[in-house]
Symmetry: C2
Subunit: 495 residues, 2 copies
């Protein structure tokens, strides 16, 4: 393995962000020979072991190799030099001080359920896995907050706060596996967002270990607070490129009543989108408003034999967690019929509702089974443009002769057109990537964004530049440099 | 008037944030003589007039002097060299290019209703008033967004969206006067926050003119989006120190039913705070939960003859804008009684509710009438510590022999202990400032923040440092430098 050390550019070196820790004065070289790389790995390991127990430092290539990538396995990934599994803030500080001194890139990881390669290893990096820092430190029903370490699993937190009559809304599909730290890194969404918003809206304050190992506290544990720039929010969605989140204070909601779900079938995607617009324009506040197209419905049936109606072109699921959800569903059902729904079936109870949600949650797994591999787009458009988005994806699927299933958080305009392809077929793989990109171009054309909730990572770097333009990219880079002048934190991600 | 030009420090000059516009190569001096200052003002005015109509450039000292400060009139303020009132984005860009070239500080202003001196002029600055950019550009009921210029009055927007069945929640007390741009600059709160949150949660995207005149677009017009760092949120609450907001895309909610208010009287502040905790712990979601202490109640009665009950030590107002507010008020009323309320009076209709809210809204004006001048603290504590906060303020009032009325957004733990004093009495003024500071110290001790919604400005600079610590301040400065390497944007505010 050839290690690449981070080479700080002179202008980065000169940025004043405080007294840098002791810096090595060795000669730098663009490429290190294999011998020198091994030497550096050895020194890195030795340095790490001065502040970490042996079981927290993994160097066996068979083991470290398994930390190379997140769920976007088709994105480029390097081989980690070492994987560290700290259990304390001090240990994380030791890792970052070591990385700064030796100029080694650090790639923070949670459960690696991300879909954009943001947690993929850089060649010769330290993988900093936060999974062992998994304690829930506090739950306060009066203050409606939880204080957690980054490795806490989303579902674990959700269930723990439920026991106090509280609710932590963000619910990405991977909620049984993914960590709160990862959710913060990617500003994760989920099914609940149409009513409850994304992760960002639940992060009140953070403890962050900076690139040079110093600890910074941002934000607050109060309901409100405007003391200085909102650095908390800056870290949410920063994909581990600004600092290492080691503690988070999260806002909680009171637990709402159990939601009740309605399913509506439509003869076309645009009729379903019309229903979505009528529902939102009508002032309704559903707790969920999801769309599955015919391809997705069939894929779920094929995999899980759910008995979903395959004759429909688009299946819309709406839910309410209000005190009288049946009344809300009746009103929304009428709007669906006005928009041309061929059938409207409200769930009779929680069990039926759960079954419908389960079908929705199986969508991506179902689509993956179609051809073995998927590329999942994450384009969010203003919901008034949702019908155009769906029509465009149909055209693109036809143009590239591909199966593209669409599952969408329709209420948010957040679509996941999922390109199904056989990764062993180079031509199909090429067409998959081209269609994937064309879908993002369409999203931008419709006034949308290339990523509603999955992040940029490695997968959409060039698209971020297209979305935010040269001035935007320049200012994003300036912020990055302010926090990480040596560029050691998750390099090569975002831009 | 002696003008001070911004003297860029060498290390700031070297920060790479893109090609700086043409820079003057003149000699710099720490202080300019009066002659040179007049010369510079003349050149500044001439340069401004090359891109602005004459009526948009005010130089008459009698006029410009009236733009010297916001509502925190007791904070230091300089004399503006010139006041500009642009009407277009291009005009704002021209102002910033001019300011960069001549190294003149720029102080952005809205309606100057701020309470921390964040809009106070620097000596010899350009005051950039955004009040003429006051168009509502778009309201979309389907996408639930509004696109506005920064000078739109909060109440104007609120009423305009109401006509479409929509609701823009943030409602600072000054909502009939204050601008959306000012609200964004200070991340304003209001009475609605306990249910609907602060301004920050309603800003989806911004057009910002940077210090050097370039235009940057941040964020999105979609419900969700995570493309790159959240620069939108970074600008919210940045008090005009990072760039000039010239357009904002705001999220809207569907208009809720009319809220119904309940008033509960308590024999002590701590009993009222106990009621607040029971209400929030009980999972209720009031649309308003406000507290007025005896001093405040009496001040409002004295001024407006409202007939509020003066025998009470603390008056709690709770409201619900749900579909069955009477039922919610009954439940909350029972919790108030359990906490020891001496009387619980639900409003019978919207008119009675409005009267109670009016009393609350008159609180600060009422307290101002007590002694002629007030210093309004804005300490927010975890609501579990609210009772301790109130008790502490009582002790501080006694210690400094001052009248301090407390009005609080109790549901958020956001208190406004308001120090009443006679500004012509130096000893009382000194005691007022000391008590004001001691209240912030108490807030920090209780795990709170020095500012829940009013911002830092000039008034609380040293307290920001105490709250966020040296590493926090250093990183805040690094962010500032990334956006404004010459330090021309609202210098001397925040830190």
């Amino acid at each position: 393995m050839i290690m690449s050390r981070i080479e700080a550019r002179p202008d980065e070196d000169s940025v004043a962000v405080g007294s840098a820790p002791e810096r090595l004065t060795e000669n730098r070289a663009e490429d290190l020979t294999e011998d020198r790389a091994e030497d550096l790995t050895q020194r890195l390991t030795e340095r790490l072991l001065t502040g970490l127990p042996a079981e927290a430092v993994l160097t066996d290539p068979d083991v470290t190799g398994s930390y190379a990538n997140d769920m976007a396995s088709f994105c480029e990934a390097g081989t980690p030099a070492v994987v560290v599994l700290p259990r304390t803030v001090e240990q994380v500080q030791h890792v970052m001080r070591t990385a700064t001194d030796l100029r080694i890139p650090v790639v923070p990881q949670g459960a690696r359920t991300g879909l954009s390669g943001a947690a993929n290893a850089s060649e010769g990096c330290i993988v900093l896995s936060l999974t062992k820092m998994d304690r829930i430190l506090e739950i306060s029903p009066v203050d409606r907050i939880a204080v957690v370490e980054p490795g806490v699993i989303n579902a674990t937190l959700s269930r723990a706060v439920n026991e106090h009559g509280l609710y932590y809304p963000p619910d990405p599909s991977s909620w049984e596996m993914c960590t709160i730290g990862g959710n913060i890194g990617t500003a994760s969404g989920g099914l609940c967002c149409v009513k409850y918003g994304v992760t960002a809206e639940y992060v009140l304050g953070l403890d962050v270990v900076l690139a040079d190992g110093r600890l910074m506290t941002t934000g607050r544990r109060t309901a409100k607070g405007v003391a200085g720039y909102d650095l908390t929010r800056l870290f949410v969605g920063s994909e581990g490129s600004l600092g290492i989140v080691v503690r988070a204070t999260l806002a909680l909601k009171p637990q709402p009543p159990q939601q009740l779900v309605l399913a509506a079938e439509f003869a076309s995607g645009s009729a379903a989108c019309d229903a979505v617009c009528r529902i939102m324009e009508g002032g309704h506040v559903p707790s969920l408003l999801e769309l599955m197209d015919r391809t997705t419905v069939k894929a779920v049936n094929d995999m899980a034999h759910m008995g979903l109606p395959e004759s429909t072109e688009a299946l819309l699921l709406a839910a309410f967690d209000t005190h009288d959800p049946a009344a809300d569903l009746a009103a929304v059902g009428a709007l669906c019929e006005a928009a041309g729904a061929t059938q409207v079936v409200p769930a009779e109870d929680a069990a039926e509702s759960e079954l419908l949600l389960q079908a929705r949650r199986l969508s991506l797994t179902g689509l993956e089974a179609v051809k073995g591999t998927t590329m999942i787009d994450d384009v969010c458009v203003p919901r008034s443009r949702l019908a155009e988005m769906l029509e465009g994806v149909d055209r693109i699927a036809e143009k590239y002769r591909l199966t593209i299933g669409v599952v969408a958080h329709a209420g948010d305009g957040n679509t996941h057109p999922t390109v199904c392809f056989d990764a062993s077929d180079p031509d199909e793989s090429r067409r998959a990537r081209e269609s994937f990109d064309e879908i993002m171009a369409l999203g931008l054309e419709l006034g949308g964004t290339i990523t509603g909730e999955h992040g940029v990572g490695v997968l959409k770097k060039e698209w971020l530049a297209r979305e935010i333009g040269p001035v935007g990219i320049e200012m994003q880079r300036a912020v990055k440099t302010a926090f990480d002048p040596l560029g050691i934190l998750n390099p090569g991600k975002l831009f």
